[in-house]
Amino acid sequence: MNPLRRELEIVAEWVEPGSRVLDLGCGDGTLLQYLIERKGVTAYGLEHDPRKVTGCMARGVNVVRADLDDGLSDFHRDSFDHVIMSQTIQAVRYPDKLLEDMLRVAHHGIVTFPNIGYWRLRVQLLLQGRMPRSPALPNAWYNSPNIHLCTVRDFERLCASMGVQIRERRLLDRAHRSTPVIDLAPNLLGEIAIYRFVRGSESL
């Protein structure tokens, strides 16, 4: 199975049909095209890499070339129903500010990231004493775009401190399965973390 597939399916489960969706770091538009085809959403993506922007255009996915470190100032409050950030939060300069901005432009947020607390990565660091690498984190420390890696616990603490209310959490193992076992020790057993959350002090 395409490793991204399961993640796409989970995100798609959470997005209501016909809703307005913004995807931050949308890559070549794979996720948005998936949501457009299956959920009939109105979608826009933001992407900085010109080759990937071109990829979106070839698919007919609305895309704006933008640097997420500049924030989301092109968008008004509540412009969208869902704002998604897939495998990108660890690569932005100000994850906390962006999280806040996400919940300004949309009520619902979805974030996925590689969990650096995953046991295989911990073992690598412990036994080899080197920066861990994995299929989800393929780059070396010096050429990695990932400047703000976090664990499941880190992310949840940040949300709590910001008053962001997590509605649902899914964790995938290396085979991209979501088994009940993972929930026994999510920060240890989950390689990919997927969250759905809403603005604090507002009910769903």
């Binding site: 826009y44 010109p50 922007v53 071109t54 255009m57 070839a58 698919r59 007919g60 609305n62 968008f75």
Partner: protein
């Protein structure tokens, strides 16, 4: 042109002319009793008539957008980089139409045309035409060609603004608008440059209030100065530094008439070449049309409200070193379309060439434009 045109060119092309006898009411309150539009087409219109793309030219452009008029032509049409087999506006898939705007000087009715009321050239009597007037005249051309809906209307600079005007005025007659290096309206600086250009023309002793045709002369010096000024605004500071620096032609002359610096030589050459086939009154009209372009004006300066009627998808492209219509201006268009939940894409492209980049073979630019148009072609079954 060399003996045989390059394979990626549309090759030899001929121009066509359409005459319209029905009067055209203009935004200024006057009307043109009759008019002609000169245009070229490249590629084939498909049976369903869904693959037509209208290309709009910029300030000094015309209907000759691609290919060559004869084997003696040294240069192809102005958008040869983007129009042809396998290019972004792929003539194997699309039927491309490009017309010379009203007020032009390359065959469409303009100030040098004969005024039917006087039998003499219009000169200063030619009405001030606007982008909206151009779009209306082109809609009649589309009717004439049997094109109910364009797959896309595309252009750079002023041509991009014309594409936006199409999207506003005839929402059901285009599926896509492509506005490259454009702006929602001109800034004070933009208008200032245009005014200096106009003053250069009008203060030439051979201008004769715009009636210079009657005297058998033309304000060539003024027009050349206008073009020199314009040319500076089309290039970036970096591009000029890279191309000329402070290079000298020879020794410093201590003489105003002599050309000392390479950049002076280049600008004088550009000015002289331009006046050979461009009419000064047309330059006045085109710059005015640019100055007056302001869809937000009728909506209390709310550009977003001006775009509420838009029904097409929009592609915006802008270039990092363009200081005439910089990427921030394209982002204004982007924001207004987003506020209306309209489908839109925007890509800022790194380029050193300044405003002129939209005419240049810049790989990322051509790739993005091709990708977008490839999807348009699939959508219309081209």
């Amino acid at each position: 042109m060399v003996k045989s045109p390059p394979a990626e060119s549309v090759g030899l092309v001929t121009q066509h002319k359409a005459a319209f006898e029905e009067p055209l009411p203009l935004v200024c309150g006057r009307e043109l009793p009759r008019y002609e539009l000169v245009y070229e087409t490249y590629g084939e219109l498909n049976r369903e008539r869904t693959n037509a793309v209208l290309v709009c030219h910029a300030l000094s452009g015309n209907h000759h957008a691609a290919g060559y008029h004869s084997e003696h032509d040294r240069k192809p049409g102005w958008w040869e980089t983007c129009i042809g087999p396998g290019k972004p506006l792929d003539t194997n898939r699309f039927f491309i139409v490009c017309s010379n705007n009203l007020g032009g000087c390359h065959g469409s009715t303009g100030p040098a045309s004969l005024n039917p009321e006087t039998g003499k050239p219009y000169g200063d009597q030619f009405p001030v035409v606007t982008v909206r007037d151009w779009v209306r005249s082109q809609a009649r051309l589309a009717d004439r060609l049997g094109i109910r809906q364009w797959a896309a209307v595309a252009g750079g600079s002023l041509g991009g603004m014309q594409a936006l005007q199409w999207a506003i005025d005839y929402p059901d007659r285009l599926r896509h608008a492509v506005a490259i290096a454009a702006a929602p309206r001109l800034s004070a600086q933009n208008i200032g440059f245009n005014e200096v250009a106009r003053q250069a023309i009008m203060s030439d002793p051979e201008f004769h209030g715009g009636r210079y045709y009657d005297y058998g002369v033309s304000p060539r010096r003024g027009l050349a100065v206008a073009r020199m000024l314009g040319h500076i605004t089309y290039l970036s500071d970096d591009a000029m530094r890279a191309k000329f620096g402070r290079d000298l032609r020879g020794d410093i002359s201590f003489d105003f008439e002599e050309v000392d610096f390479e950049v002076e030589s280049y600008l004088r050459y550009q000015g002289q070449r331009f006046v050979q086939d461009f009419d000064a009154n047309t330059y006045l009209l085109m710059t005015k049309a640019l100055d007056y372009f302001d869809p937000a004006a009728e909506h209390d300066d709310d550009f977003s409200a001006a775009l509420a009627s838009v029904a097409c998808s929009t592609l915006l492209l802008s270039f990092s070193s363009d200081w005439r219509f910089p990427p921030a201006r394209s982002r204004e268009i982007l924001r207004a379309l987003l506020e209306n939940n309209k489908p839109v894409s925007h890509m800022e492209i790194e380029a050193t060439q300044g405003h002129d980049a939209f005419l240049m073979p810049i790989q990322r630019y051509l790739e993005a434009f091709s990708a977008y148009m490839g999807n348009v072609a699939r959508e219309v079954g081209a």
